[in-house]
Symmetry: C2
């Protein structure tokens, strides 16, 4: 498979694929007779895994470390495992953080909904004071 097809299949651009090779995330590709990169289909599995790591916030330097270990052979398995364990903990912590934020957002949205209702009632019964003090809290945050 040439770089253009790999780009289509992996979702990366050809530019990005070359970039990833340059920085050591992808193995140096084999070349065909004309000197073009020629990929084996299983590179897609590795790219998908890299994508997972990326979307879960692993910086490229850590992905490189993992890739380097992988390239060094089986005896680096414990180190790779350790890397993944550390990353898993980061992801866990991140999820916890996001869940806490979700509560805050929900509360805040509820506040807006409640204020909306108050304004509604207010307008219904007292249209002469549409910017009344009872809704002034909305401007605070």
């Amino acid at each position: 498979m040439k770089i253009g097809e790999l780009a289509k299949r992996s979702g990366l651009s050809a530019h990005t694929i070359r970039y990833y090779e340059r920085i050591g995330l992808l193995p140096v590709a084999d070349r065909d007779a004309g000197g073009r990169r020629d990929y084996d289909a299983d590179i897609l599995v590795w790219i998908a895994f890299l994508h997972r790591l990326k979307t879960t916030g692993m910086p490229i330097r850590d992905m490189r470390r993992y890739a380097d270990l992988r390239a060094k052979g089986d005896h680096t398995a414990p180190a790779r495992q350790q890397l993944l364990r550390a990353h898993r903990e980061n992801v866990r912590a991140h999820i916890a953080d996001l869940q806490a934020a979700l509560l805050v957002l929900d509360t805040k949205i509820d506040t807006y909904v409640a204020a909306e209702k108050r304004t509604q009632n207010h307008d219904d019964r007292d249209a002469r004071n549409p910017a009344g003090a009872r809704t002034a809290r909305l401007g605070r945050d």
Copy 2:
């Protein structure tokens, strides 16, 4: 409160506080007699909220939009609510993504653990073939 103290209390650096003011995330601060920024304590609440938005992945341009709406007064409340709803959905989606990734990581880590055990047994019973084919899969990803 002067900028140095706000920096300590908010966790932002004074540099960052000025930067946030410049780009419109923080309101233009009042000045004291000597022309220095003088803050009211409740700016901390706003900064904490910004921090939430930031750690949940909202780009600065969206935070600015929210800040701008806030500055325009109560009638922008529906727009702000809408912004937060959209953000909440992003956060939800992000959480789902991370949870899926967590499963992948757990599976992968388990694979390493299992391979380790196999190597262990193998070494115990057949120390002449420590790099045997049964663990070669480890180099694949």
